[in-house]
Symmetry: D2
Subunit: 467 residues, 4 copies
Amino acid sequence: MHDLLVRGGTVVTASDAFAADVAVRDGRIVAIGTGLGPARQTIEASGRLVLPGGVDTHCHVEQRSSTGLMTADDFYTATVSAACGGTTTIVPFAAQHRGQSLAAVVADYRRRAAARAVLDYAFHLIVSDPTPCVLDEELPGLVAEGHASLKVYMTYEALKLSDRQFLDVLAAARRAGALVMVHAENSDLVAWETERLAALGCTAPRFHAEARPAIAEAEATSRAIAMASHLGSALFVVHVTCRQAVDTIARARACGAEVYAETCPQYLLLTAADLDRPGFEGAKFICSPPLRSRADQEALWGALRDGTLDVLSSDHAPYRFDDPAGKRAHGADAPFSRVPSGVPGLEVRLPLAFSEGVRAGRLDLHRFVAVTATTPARIFGLYPQKGTIAVGSDADLAIWDPEVEVRIAVDRLHDAMDYTPYEGRIVRGWPVMTISRGEVVWDQGEIRAERGRGRLVPRRPRPTVAR
Amino acid sequence: MHDLLVRGGTVVTASDAFAADVAVRDGRIVAIGTGLGPARQTIEASGRLVLPGGVDTHCHVEQRSSTGLMTADDFYTATVSAACGGTTTIVPFAAQHRGQSLAAVVADYRRRAAARAVLDYAFHLIVSDPTPCVLDEELPGLVAEGHASLKVYMTYEALKLSDRQFLDVLAAARRAGALVMVHAENSDLVAWETERLAALGCTAPRFHAEARPAIAEAEATSRAIAMASHLGSALFVVHVTCRQAVDTIARARACGAEVYAETCPQYLLLTAADLDRPGFEGAKFICSPPLRSRADQEALWGALRDGTLDVLSSDHAPYRFDDPAGKRAHGADAPFSRVPSGVPGLEVRLPLAFSEGVRAGRLDLHRFVAVTATTPARIFGLYPQKGTIAVGSDADLAIWDPEVEVRIAVDRLHDAMDYTPYEGRIVRGWPVMTISRGEVVWDQGEIRAERGRGRLVPRRPRPTVAR
Amino acid sequence: MHDLLVRGGTVVTASDAFAADVAVRDGRIVAIGTGLGPARQTIEASGRLVLPGGVDTHCHVEQRSSTGLMTADDFYTATVSAACGGTTTIVPFAAQHRGQSLAAVVADYRRRAAARAVLDYAFHLIVSDPTPCVLDEELPGLVAEGHASLKVYMTYEALKLSDRQFLDVLAAARRAGALVMVHAENSDLVAWETERLAALGCTAPRFHAEARPAIAEAEATSRAIAMASHLGSALFVVHVTCRQAVDTIARARACGAEVYAETCPQYLLLTAADLDRPGFEGAKFICSPPLRSRADQEALWGALRDGTLDVLSSDHAPYRFDDPAGKRAHGADAPFSRVPSGVPGLEVRLPLAFSEGVRAGRLDLHRFVAVTATTPARIFGLYPQKGTIAVGSDADLAIWDPEVEVRIAVDRLHDAMDYTPYEGRIVRGWPVMTISRGEVVWDQGEIRAERGRGRLVPRRPRPTVAR
Amino acid sequence: MHDLLVRGGTVVTASDAFAADVAVRDGRIVAIGTGLGPARQTIEASGRLVLPGGVDTHCHVEQRSSTGLMTADDFYTATVSAACGGTTTIVPFAAQHRGQSLAAVVADYRRRAAARAVLDYAFHLIVSDPTPCVLDEELPGLVAEGHASLKVYMTYEALKLSDRQFLDVLAAARRAGALVMVHAENSDLVAWETERLAALGCTAPRFHAEARPAIAEAEATSRAIAMASHLGSALFVVHVTCRQAVDTIARARACGAEVYAETCPQYLLLTAADLDRPGFEGAKFICSPPLRSRADQEALWGALRDGTLDVLSSDHAPYRFDDPAGKRAHGADAPFSRVPSGVPGLEVRLPLAFSEGVRAGRLDLHRFVAVTATTPARIFGLYPQKGTIAVGSDADLAIWDPEVEVRIAVDRLHDAMDYTPYEGRIVRGWPVMTISRGEVVWDQGEIRAERGRGRLVPRRPRPTVAR
């Protein structure tokens, strides 16, 4: 007797699609086939697509910035929202501020997630203070515990590392078996442009894009790859937004560099023109790197298709619009450089990519599954437990209605936000049910998840290499 | 009650790998899982890899050349040999000679295959005489019947098409829904070099490579792609052998051309130096395009990995060495240009690629499955019936012992040949059992296949497009 | 006592520009400087530019086609027209038709040119019938006499060579010391498209561009370079018209191929849209390869600047519009494929390039001199006798008024044509005087040249290389 | 009556070569020709090449480092040495240390040069402290005075600028009309590697190359170009040493960046293997960026030929070997990182490039003149006064014996050094006479120059552009 049977759907993986039932016992997939034995619970999925639950490896949840600002979503709202959009695993950040013990930071985030998350999760470590103590004493233990990735910044005063620190981190990560992720923008160039614009009185949201030009991203991407290549280290470039950065990554790979790269729906679907909405409205679209041009969008879609980009994540960074703890933290007249940076996207990531990618003919269904679930799970050591539909894998499934039309509206979403940058946009295709370890957590509009049911997923370290 | 249960192996697809049983009924996979119900026959596969049976989309079987020379293998020996090496589907050629009706040619090949094949098969049509009758009257019907691919030659006097004929074929194929495959070498350049060498008395086998330089292949590849791109047609480039052709293909794709490409084990593992063996021995290594350099091998492995090359086929073209109907057709002193061109490889294709690819760390196991089974099945319209392990697919399986070491020797192989170019080479990993539509055809050294059990697999045409 | 002193102008060469007088004796430059001694004739050039007379290495003069059609210009009108536009040397063709002796052809052209030319000249040999007799017996002697270049066609039924013949020509030219020029378009592709269009009734002039697409040129360019590279031969690609061909050439050079390339003003200044003028008017713009797009124009300007293109010639091919021996040879309703191909341009080549290149900021003055005079003279073995202003060089000078504005009109030009494709276009800068071997041949609107004064300039063969 | 006549030589410029006399009056060339009038002094040059005197735009003369170390050569020995090698103009540096007034620095260098230089000179300004005072108040005046170029460092603790400072300098230079030169190495990467090597005890000279890998140079080159491109500023990259940096520059140019680049004989002729000589001997070859590989040499020669590299300068940086004020400043056991960096080369630059370039067939004679004289003069605003042989230009000439064989030896050179990295190397071709403004300063082995005769050459600013 199985615990659960998902019956009659079209099962889709990164390489295959076929009609079959999926049987689940003890939270894991035990069989995929026809005529599978009886189950305590049966879900009819005929006419539906049965996809691996999404794996979102870039999101900011219950994260406090160095200035004390907290994201709008905590581990409960974030995971509920993710579940409602077909995602079953998130990998947010455990963010070190300078002077903090990395281990203490991780313990704090673990404690909070354990109390509230409704989906499984893991943590990337943000390293802003790569002291010998952090790198040599704390990091190896944390990686061994399963926190096998870390992120560094090349921009933001409170977070950025010098090239030398970046080299230290790359070397330490390699010894410990962690993958390094990088936010690549040239800090000096951004600061220089921001000051130049400020001196001209150009502080409205629309100048955000001008202050962080594509070349700042492409330059830092090239530099980060140069350093990683020099050490023979792998590198994961987050939120690639422009053709120049895509070209840089493709070139580096052709030369043998082990570089992975990601983009996000906002860079595929919005442009810098969105920053130019009246009044402070443009602040809703401030994220970094900034939104770019239509030509960049085309380059990103092409790169998702041809494999230059591996992952489509949300970079969910939720700051409410009409909130003194959100976009207005420094007032509604704040210059763009003081507006908290980020857009929400956990819940709409998959529907947007399905509608604008698969339905619009830009991505095939297997590639959609690959970039939103299988590949991120693989790269970050969650696979095969997460990211696919295979015997032995966790029964993390999203059952999609590929035809339903949904008008996106903030009051239909489940995060803690008061706006969505996609308000009014119509998408075709949405998950009608989300299943996590065999438990239905989102069912036709109803949230069934229990606070705190999510579990930490320890991740396998990468093979360690001395140098 | 299942017909067959393959129990306890590690099932591998182009994207996944997991421990599971595979259950078969009526020749199809009905379930993949643990604890699947009982079966009439159970095969223990613990410690084994359970892979999709190989799909070999380039092989010459019971094919008569324009000069009347017959390949050594008929449909029986060829399919038996293929089965012993883990392959379950072959797509040989139905080769038109000038003046022949294409439909009659197909009927003849079908008849012969039906009588002898032990594995399932389909046919590519070789078009050497693209008259309006052939293209407009015969081709559409043949494609509709499931012969959805055809091959043309840019070289060989008896086969080659002019560019204009090539355009006619591309356009007709597009209308009919067939994919065009091309053997790309510049005929004039080869003829010119061959004559030049002959005038210098350079006719030994080792001059074969000099007479057909890489640039002749790269040029013709570029030209074929230009013509296909001009018409907006897809193109499949067979047996890519050199870095220059790889670069040409990569560049065309980056510009949006729909080009697929293939290489073969001989180009990955042998070099032009093999042509320089003493006496006539080098003739064993004469194939066209010729073997190249170590640098070209590296380029090909890289292109298999990064996706520039989609398919690894055998180009099995069996002419016996010590045989007046084989390599010695024109005597043991024949100039290289009169030696029948081709090397055998149906049986060793998968073991060589597994050993030198997967075991040697050049290909991961999923990519091995993709290039040897899933992708050729997809490109040529056999998928999902063939090429993967999925519910509903034919139960075509190869059960591998990944550790067994085998020394390749002609007398251990099952084709009709008297030599193998890999004599003495040790490979690690070999299928211990091959299953076709749920029937064991090769079992631990014993052939169990019944002559004529193989069936023609009709293939879906490509979407047709008018111009 | 000098024969001539050009006083007070700004002397410009491919590398320098300075105020100086130029002194001439016996037709050669003997001194460049200030305060040079007295002369029998003094020309005031203050406020003028003193440039090397133009060298036009691509023009069709008094040339009869295989169908008997004669160009409108004979050696008199052509050279007068050239002189009026600042050109002092032309290299037209001595065109072999199939079956003709190359030596006899050359003798015929020499005789006719000697009788009429007012400027110095040389001949490229057009080889349409590369028999062993032509290549082995005639060619070496002709090259030794100074006819050190030849041209072949990859298109046009009456002229085109097969790839094999092309290889024969390349090899023979290399042995003899001649440079091979190629008109590169894929003949089959053009024929196929022409037929396709004809079948659709698309025969108006505007379909000329569609019938000869850029890819036909790029393909043939790539093929020609492949063959030349294979033999280690140099190659000169005439009339490059599109970005794809430019890219192909640049890539070949980066790989070490010795490739030279040319474009013409019509490809820089006109587009395929000009073919779409009402009625038969578009026929005025039929030339092959055809006019392309604005984007191609930009690519060509860029390539002229950066050195990918070496030469700017006219490809003067004069067929009168309103003339049964011209564009209307097959009537005013003739399909584009039967309209004689070519546009006139000998006289306007330099003024157009000066105005649209130098004055418009697209070419610096030194690059203008290089591509219109010095480099073609160098490549074709006329340098240093022709193509520069240097002591010992022929006193072939063009004295330019860089400021004068001229409206181009057919009745102000001096060729035998009844139209110019540039009618009404205003250019800035025009030669006020042209000097050939120290003799003024064009002076402020007056032609002073004596019929037959031009001389054949024998050219140095290239170093010969055996293979 | 001319002051000087150089009679019967072969005059060579960047585009032409011809037999002619050169007549000089008041230090300037007044005529080039045959049969020029009499002169007070006549120099026979038959059988000789008459070239423009070399222009060396990268050399360190009488320059004190931030730690107080003085180069071995003062303005007298440096200019004498340069003259003996055929150079007639040098552009050393006026080097600001942090805290210094740039104007005061320039005044100091001018005073010292005026007292001792025997050749004409100009100064590049080294800016290490780009305060608003320096950039906004001092720089415009200095540029207006003719100091129209400045150099910045991306490495060396005492000199390096942050990216932000670099942007400040680029913007200020653009406003003022100065060209920015950059020493591009990633400072952090070098420091990180240096420390890593030190920790392993790897401090011998041969580790110098490992501590400053090619990727550090390529990365910084890419970054510098990104910043300049962002501002639309021109950039001059000094001492390019490796294929990766060459590729970066070529790519940037193809995208429209105005980038100029230089290499030096040491990078063309020596390799990192030279650093591995026994004992401290390797210190003679320590320069930064370091010597590279043979493959890099080939890339540099190719780039000099094809125009990717514009200039060949010496980067003469003379520190004596056996001298406590030289390479041994920190003792003979000093780690490589404390050895003063630089090699001498003012005198041998042209003979090495002539012998290994022109005579060895790697550069044609015109390209030799271009990269060693004409182009640097053009780029840095010295042309047409310097860098060519043209009427009106300064009579700065080098008369070369192209056949003479010279064995390079430190005691035959005229600088203040006790070693040359080229000791024992035989070159073919050397200037027998050097003429500066019509005065013979080096004559067949005898120095005739008078201390202090050299003059400052003010340079034209570049067009200034606001942003």
